[in-house]
Structure formats: structure tokens, C-alpha cells
């Protein structure tokens, strides 16, 4: 990346708003919104992050990987309950059709964040990079938020 300090500063300001619209400097077509990391109990070393990824372009895009310097690794997962058994399925990538969005939300698709360098509390935020197969990479500042008590699973079926 080139000299994008002002852009980063702007990004930071954006993340302080209620929703988190982020547009890449070199790609106006993909937007990543509502990014957040769920606060977890202090002993937990595996966290979940959520986001909405919109593909505004006319091409299919593929989210190939997600990275952050704060975590040892990040995987794309999908929670699924089949015959009463809850399981997480690792996804090698996520494909998003033109003009469509994919929602990473509790009880469904999520980012699995392994082994944070330091404990994260609500109020912290972490930079996460979404890397697409065409070489585009979008960095987003993800705030750590407390999970709501009602079950969001219900709203996503």
C-alpha cells in the first residue's frame, strides 16, 4: 500500500460511527459493513467476528483469506445445527455474486479468530484485512462489542 495514512485516519473516524462502512481506495465495488468482534469471557482464546460483505461490482468475487496481526490465524467458518448437533464447518473461501452481499452473523457464517496476542475487551478495536482472490485487500477496524442477549440465529433463517 502507498501512503495512505490520511485514509487510515479517515477509516478510524468512520469506525467510530454506528455502522462501519469502509470503501477501499482502489476498489469502490466491495464494501464491508457492520464489522464487529464478539467480546468473550477472559479465559477464551478463540473469538468470533462478524461482518456484511457487499459485492457492488459486476463480477463474482471470492474472499480467499482474512488476516490480522493480532491473531495467530483466522479462518472462515459456518455454524450449522443439523439434527440437533451444533458444528462449525471451515470454509476454504466465500463467493459473493455481483450486486449481492453475504452476511457473517451469529449462528451462521463467522470469522474464527485464534489466539489473540492480548485479551480483548469491549471498547477495544482490531484491524482485520479481508483478502480477495483478485488481489484486492480491504482493511477494516473491527470494534469489540458485547453480544446481545436475544438470539440472532432466529433472524437469519
Amino acid at each position: 500500500m502507498h501512503n495512505n495514512r490520511p485514509v487510515l485516519a479517515l477509516l478510524f473516524l468512520f469506525t467510530q460511527l454506528v455502522s462501519y462502512p469502509v470503501f477501499a481506495d482502489d476498489n469502490q465495488d466491495i464494501s464491508i459493513n457492520n464489522v464487529w468482534i464478539s467480546e468473550a469471557p477472559p479465559s477464551v482464546t478463540t473469538l468470533a467476528a462478524y461482518a456484511t460483505i457487499y459485492n457492488g461490482s459486476s463480477e463474482t468475487i471470492t474472499l480467499a483469506s482474512v488476516s490480522s496481526p493480532l491473531f495467530s490465524s483466522i479462518e472462515i467458518h459456518r455454524s450449522n445445527i443439523v439434527d440437533g448437533i451444533a458444528r462449525m464447518e471451515k470454509q476454504s473461501s466465500l463467493t459473493i455474486n455481483p450486486k449481492e452481499s453475504i452476511e457473517l452473523a451469529p449462528g451462521s457464517y463467522h470469522l474464527m479468530l485464534f489466539n489473540p496476542d492480548k485479551p480483548l475487551r469491549s471498547g477495544n478495536s482490531v484491524s482485520i484485512s479481508f483478502n480477495f482472490s483478485d488481489g484486492t485487500s480491504l482493511s477494516v477496524e473491527a470494534p469489540v462489542l458485547k453480544r446481545q442477549n436475544d438470539n440472532p440465529q432466529h433472524h437469519h433463517h
Binding site: P41, S43, S79, I81, R147
Partner: protein, 215 residues
């Protein structure tokens, strides 16, 4: 005089009619009650008749103390399974149970919420303590040896298995997403199936409890 005579003439048949009616109603009510006692009244999630009775078991709670059948007796227990490396479904269930417990505990003083780890190797006593108390300080977290956990999952009849291909430390565990309800006689009287929602659990719990208390 005449008046009182004529009124008593009507009074006696009226009393007889009333007595017959009362007896009939009483008989009808007791018939209904005995029917309710015998039959499954079609309450969602109710295991009746012949609920499973939990046999003696051993486990270790989040304070490092042994936890067994005696701790299940004389309380209404919500028991469910998960592991602390599960960052999505498990905390959803925990949050829903935290809210459910908060709403129920003002009315019911004999409840306990029990999280059983299906990953006792990684979920040590200390980790379990930090985990369950984050959601509510009254919550109980059970672990111990793999054999201990197995004795409980086998009795309840739930499955769990390691799902990862990789032999990494980041393995995943598939497990039952249901919450099981035990009455004060350690009988498994109900089950709450996913998706878990506070309002649904509270209604179901009240229906099951009312039914069991009437037996």
C-alpha cells in the same frame, strides 16, 4: 307460614339438583385430572411418561469441587453442553440462558444452570470458572476427566465428537445444541431444542414445571 312452607317445598328439590350437579362436576374434574396424570398433555419438549432418571455420576465443578447426583437432586436444573473454544453457538446459548435465568430467578429460587464441557482436556477448572461466571456468577461449569464427561453425556443420550481433520490445538467439537431440563427428582423431564430463545424457553419451562408439579 304458608310462604315459608311453599319455599321449603322448592328448597329441597333445588338442593338435590345442586348436590347432583356438584357431584357430577367434581367427578368430571377428577376424571380430567386423572386423564392429565396419565396422558402426555402435548407440552412441547416434555418427556412424559417415563422420563429418564439420572444415575449417580461424578464430575468436577468450576470451583474444583466434586459434583454429582446429590447436587442435581432437589433442584430444577438446566443442563447443556459446549466448550470454551466454541465462539459462536456456545456463547449464544450462554447469553440466552443468562437472560432466561435472570427473568426466572425472581419467581423460582430452586434453579441451577449447568454448562458441561465436551472438551475437558482444554477446559480446565480455571477456564470453566472464568467462562461461566462471565455470563452469570451463579452458573455452574462441569468438567473433570473425559470418562466423567462421557458418563454424563451417555446417560443423557447426547453425542459429541472431535471434528477436525488437522491434529492442531485448534480442533473443533461437534455437540448437541439442546438444553435439557431435570426436575428435583433428577428425572430428565424436558428438552429445549435449538434455536434457543429466552421467551420460548421460559414458556416451555413453566408449562413443563406446572405439569410435573401436578403429578
Amino acid at each position: 307460614m304458608i310462604k315459608s312452607l311453599s319455599s321449603s317445598k322448592f328448597l329441597i328439590p333445588a338442593m338435590i339438583v345442586l348436590a347432583v350437579l356438584a357431584a357430577g362436576t367434581g367427578f368430571y374434574i377428577s376424571l380430567k385430572q386423572s386423564q392429565q396424570k396419565l396422558k402426555n398433555p402435548n407440552i412441547e419438549g416434555l418427556f412424559w411418561p417415563s422420563p429418564k432418571i439420572i444415575q449417580p455420576f461424578e464430575s468436577v465443578d468450576q470451583l474444583g469441587q466434586s459434583f454429582g447426583l446429590e447436587q442435581i437432586n432437589n433442584k430444577w436444573s438446566f443442563i447443556f453442553f459446549g466448550y470454551t473454544h466454541c465462539p459462536d453457538i456456545c456463547p449464544i446459548t450462554m447469553s440466552v440462558m443468562a437472560e432466561t435465568y435472570k427473568q426466572l430467578k425472581t419467581e423460582y429460587k430452586d434453579l441451577q444452570i449447568i454448562f458441561v464441557t465436551v472438551d475437558p482436556v482444554r477446559d480446565t477448572t480455571e477456564k470453566l470458572a472464568a467462562y461461566v461466571t462471565y455470563f452469570n456468577e451463579d452458573f455452574i461449569g462441569l468438567g473433570g476427566s473425559t470418562e466423567m464427561v462421557n458418563s454424563l453425556t451417555r446417560q443423557i443420550g447426547i453425542a459429541y465428537y472431535l471434528n477436525n481433520e488437522e491434529t492442531s490445538d485448534n480442533y473443533l467439537v461437534d455437540h448437541s445444541a439442546s438444553i435439557f431440563l431435570f426436575d428435583p427428582k433428577a428425572r430428565m423431564v424436558g428438552k429445549f431444542s435449538p434455536p434457543q430463545e429466552t421467551e420460548k424457553i421460559i414458556n416451555q419451562f413453566k408449562n413443563i414445571r406446572q405439569f410435573i408439579d401436578a403429578q
